[in-house]
């Protein structure tokens, strides 16, 4: 079967703006790329495998007797296909990527090299433990650093991403409460929280109630205190919070929560602002996930994979998930340092390792090993001094942006003091009909990735700018210059902003159409027609 013998199918109609048209639809380095299903063929392949005769006698009569419809490409075609696609993406490697709450910092290439060492990349998760001592040591060394940097007692390494880490933390809390016979139904979440917080609490079986923010963008301590009662299991707090502000009353919040018999979960998405400056353990936090793909520079990869280890207080650590790595002292050895061995504690030996109260397994294997090697490489590169400098530079860069723009853009919390690693603005003062999205799309034309838009929900038309520490002053100055001009245009009612972006590979896309008539897979033209 050949999927589409006619090959390339132009999708670009004539441009109405009088731009010179090309026959191909390409514009020099801006290259259009058809779908794989329009260029590939099921007879084409980019690998050299021989035909092998299969008798079929051992397939239980289940031999496939229909075509699958998977087109192939030769290697040069495949490389060109994805390389052309890659060029339609913005990326940190190309420029400033100030997405608030996402910590889009430079991804060091040494991390990539290390993750590909055969002893890490080419090791099976079920290999006997004596053959993976180095891998277990990596997990253990990373765990050590995370505990030292957070001042916490234990760490669960297996969660696969931030939201998975949140779930891990809440399950630890629930298990700890149930172990003391204390069933509680409610988790309190501030209004400004990331959407994963309430979703996770619901996923863990809790009813979610929101707690209001005060005028300074912080948790309203009195409102929180008045809601604390024996039905509250936990309070989920993001600190620094999603307005880019540190919660100055964090210690008092933790004390109030503990007094009510509940636990404090901290969303560690914004740990980059305080790494090496503040240890969450000193703030009374009981559980916090750490996004290795934010603070510790593992690549975001277009939306994952992430990694979300969870640091735990002494009260919660015994309930953490399996499997985990334990360092075994080796009394019989005389060789001193480096003689200890590492053991993976799984279901069968959890009891003997004093971990009988673990709430169980969250994922098939031991977590995101490829992210652990990258994060540890990053941490060792920076060391204690470099990591502290990371937080300081990240905060300095954000404040520099805040103070350079507060005269042209509404900055709702600017008067209350400095921000942490991200600066928040609103679209207050824009001319009628123009909003945050118009400024964001105009930034695309200027060659920048937009900031986080319309989040947190507590600020109208929020723009959350997180430059990170890996931006130079020159890069920030360029960004600020573009932002100032666009902000002035938005305030003056420049309607042309609504057409932005005009220089990107695509103009604004019709998201309503995509949701109303979902097309989620490719169908051959005749099939698609028949379906209509």
């Amino acid at each position: 079967m050949t999927v589409n013998p006619s090959g390339w199918r132009p999708s670009a109609p004539a441009n109405e703006q009088g731009e010179t048209q090309t026959v191909s639809g390409n514009r020099a380095l801006m290259l259009e790329e058809p779908l794989l299903f329009e260029i590939g063929s099921t007879e084409q392949t980019g690998v050299d495998l021989a035909d092998t005769k299969v008798s079929g006698g051992r397939l239980g009569g289940l031999e496939r007797n229909r075509d699958i419809g998977l087109p192939g490409l030769s290697e040069p075609e495949m490389v060109r296909h994805y390389t052309r696609l890659s060029r339609q993406n913005y990326a940190i490697d190309l420029g400033l990527f100030p997405l608030g709450s996402c910590t889009m910092k430079h991804n060091p290439r040494l991390n990539e090299k290390v993750a590909r060492m055969p002893g890490f990349a080419d090791v099976h998760p079920l290999q006997p433990q004596e053959t993976v001592q180095g891998a277990l040591q990596v997990i253990n060394e990373l765990a050590f650093w995370l505990l030292e940097l957070t001042g916490m007692y234990g760490v669960a390494m297996s969660p696969k991403a931030g939201a998975h880490g949140e779930l891990c933390g809440l399950l630890c809390i629930r298990a700890a409460l149930e172990a003391r016979g204390d069933v509680r139904a409610v988790v309190l979440v501030p209004e400004s929280a990331h959407g994963t917080n309430p979703a996770t609490a619901a996923f863990a079986g809790y009813k979610v109630e929101s707690i209001p923010a005060n005028k300074a963008g912080r948790v309203d301590l009195d409102a929180l205190k008045s809601r604390l009662a024996p039905d509250v299991a936990a309070v989920m707090i993001t600190n620094p919070n999603t307005c880019g502000l540190f919660e100055p009353e964090m210690i008092a919040i933790s004390e109030a929560v503990h007094e009510a018999g509940a636990f404090v979960y901290c969303d560690g998405a914004n740990f980059n602002a305080i790494v090496g400056k503040v240890r969450p353990g000193d703030l009374g936090i009981d559980a916090m996930h750490i996004n290795l793909h934010k603070t510790f520079s593992t690549p975001h990869g277009g939306g994952g994979p992430g990694s979300g280890p969870v640091v735990l207080s002494e009260a919660l650590a015994p309930f953490g998930p399996l499997p985990f790595v334990a360092k075994m002292p080796d009394p019989g050895s005389r060789s001193g340092a480096g003689a200890s061995s590492y053991k993976l504690v799984e279901e069968e030996n959890a009891g003997e390792e004093h971990h009988a109260r673990s709430f169980g397994r969250m994922t098939a294997f031991h977590g995101q090993m490829g992210m652990f090697t990258r994060a540890l490489t990053y941490i060792l590169s920076h060391g204690a001094d470099g990591l502290r400098q990371v937080a300081e530079d990240a905060v300095l860069n954000a404040n520099y942006v805040l103070r350079s723009l507060e005269d042209v853009l509404d900055a709702p919390f600017a008067k209350s003091g400095p921000c942490m690693h991200e600066a928040i603005f609103s679209d207050k003062g824009f001319a009628e009909g123009l909003s945050t999205i118009d400024l964001a799309k105009a930034l695309i034309d200027e060659g920048f990735h937009p900031m986080t838009m319309y989040f947190p929900l507590v600020v109208h038309g929020a723009m959350l700018v997180e430059p990170t520490e890996t931006e130079s002053k020159a890069a920030l100055d360029q960004f600020i210059a573009s932002m100032r001009v666009i902000a002035e245009r938005a305030k003056a009612g420049d309607e042309s902003l609504k057409a932005a972006p005009v220089h990107a590979p695509r103009r604004r896309l019709d998201e309503t159409l995509a949701a109303r008539k979902p097309v989620l897979v490719y169908r051959e033209p005749e099939q698609a027609q028949a379906a209509e």
């Binding site: 980019g46 035909d51 490697d93 490489t377 400095p418 590979p505």
Partner: protein, 452 residues
């Protein structure tokens, strides 16, 4: 510090510009009691690229890399040859260092790639649609059970005995908290699967039946009879595929009536990586789309009418629906999905079929040779590239004894089912195209010795 571009001059200029006399002014909101005045004690300082590479390299060498020895492990993670161009593509900075495509005008590369990935997964699994990936196979499996609960409004799922025990463990852990009821079973070391028991257990309380295909012992069974009974009772069939290469040779679960098909995509493009990151595959019947978890890329047009792609149906998701979302998932596994889709594009249907045939033929040859060892028998009737042998001795010590001989000879059922002594002599052996004739000879010789 090589990753920090600000110079001390920049820093003092910028502090001046923001009206701060020192960096500590910017941390004024941090309670004094919690502020660290100096470095966290007892930690090393920054290190050169050379020094870090040396340290990590030494740790890497303390592991036995699969490529250095005869290697026969499977059970949910498979070692296949990944063409060099796949790794080249995923290291393109525009893919590696981009974010979730929230700004579609400058993320068409990722979005189109995900649309292609969704199409490939849907076709491979024999389903209408697929999502843009989950964390891994085990979490996808649990999400499928939850989804079936939402669709059927029932809370009891039946897990067949052939489901990977770690997947079962993930599901039972999560079910403790959600209140879902799960029926689980331990497999028997024989060709006999539990399709009949599973069918008998389906009642009008059952939300879903979960069957792995091929199963943890490598066995394969026709899913159609299970689907038929499940549907008659208003339940759904969830199929779990941990070795998608198999589908180049055997029927897809969708074709046999599975309503939701989830899987682990690791074996195509991703590599072993000691368990992660992997890529969860999730496909289903189109009518269930609004109950599906995870990101979805969809086709649309831009303001000029040009075809383009966006993330769509996000009203299911946490950032819009908050506590009412179908899942709390936010990050998926896009870079691994890219590795999967790039590898599958190189293979194409022809290459996948060739690869699957090669795997199966080699596995058959190895099974025959091992069955000829006195005391050793093959438990499976049917299998793809993985089968279980019954040894005359316990398999777990046998695996360690083979390590002593420099050989990774399989996964013992003792490791997977420590509480089931009746399985202790079972050894699961996976045979892929990476296994050489010398490797097979070494396995045969080693097994002969440990079985004496």
């Amino acid at each position: 510090m090589r990753y920090l571009p600000l110079s001390d001059t920049d820093r003092s200029e910028m502090l001046h510009a923001v009206g701060a006399s020192s960096i500590d002014d910017l941390f004024a909101d941090v309670p004094k009691a919690a502020r660290l005045d100096g470095l966290v004690e007892g930690l090393p300082l920054h290190a050169s690229e050379l020094a870090v590479e040396r340290h990590m390299g030494a740790l890497s060498k303390k592991n036995m890399a699969a490529g250095d020895v005869p290697f026969f492990l499977g059970c949910g993670a498979y070692r296949h040859h990944v063409p060099a161009s796949v790794d080249h593509i995923i290291q393109r900075g525009e893919f590696l260092t981009s974010y979730t495509p929230y700004q579609p005008e400058i993320a068409q590369g990722t979005l189109q790639m995900l649309f292609e990935f969704q199409t490939q997964v849907a076709r491979l699994f024999g389903c209408d649609i697929a999502n843009a990936s989950m964390y891994d196979g085990s979490t996808a499996c649990w999400e499928a059970i939850l989804m079936a609960g939402r669709i059927t409004r029932r809370e009891k799922a039946i897990l067949s005995s052939g489901l990977h025990p770690h997947y079962v463990s993930v599901c039972t852990t999560m079910a403790k908290f959600t209140g879902d009821r799960l029926e689980t079973r331990v497999p028997s070391l024989s060709a006999e699967m539990d399709a009949e028991k599973v069918i008998a257990a389906i009642d009008d309380q059952t939300s879903a039946v979960v069957v792995q295909y091929p199963d943890i012992l490598g066995r394969i069974t026709d899913l159609a009879p299970i689907a038929e009974v499940a549907h008659a009772k208003g339940a759904l069939l969830i199929a779990v595929v941990t070795e998608p290469v198999a589908l180049g040779l055997i029927k897809s679960p969708g074709e046999m009536g599975a309503d939701i098909v989830v899987g682990e995509g690791q074996s195509i493009g991703v590599g072993l990586q000691f368990g992660g990151p992997y890529v969860g595959l999730f496909a289903c019947n189109e009518k269930f789309v609004r109950q599906m978890p995870g990101r979805l890329a969809g086709e649309t047009v831009d303001a000029e009418g040009k075809r383009g792609f966006v993330l769509t149906l996000s009203t299911r998701e946490q950032h819009i629906r908050r506590e009412k979302a179908t899942s709390n998932i936010c990050t998926s596994s896009v870079l691994c999905a890219l590795a999967f889709t790039a590898h599958l594009t190189l293979l194409g249907e022809k290459g996948l079929r060739q690869l699957a045939s090669l795997n199966h033929a080699r596995a058959c040859a190895v099974a025959d040779r091992l069955a000829a060892i006195p005391g050793v028998s093959v438990a499976n009737g049917a299998f793809f590239n993985e089968f279980t042998v019954k040894l005359p001795v316990e398999a777990r010590p046998a695996v360690h004894a083979m390590v002593e001989k420099g050989l990774l000879g399989g996964v013992s059922l003792g490791r997977l089912y420590p509480d089931a002594p009746e399985l202790a002599n079972g050894l699961v052996i996976a045979v892929t195209e990476t296994v050489t004739d010398e490797d097979i000879g070494a396995l045969e010789a080693a097994l002969k010795e440990v079985c004496l």
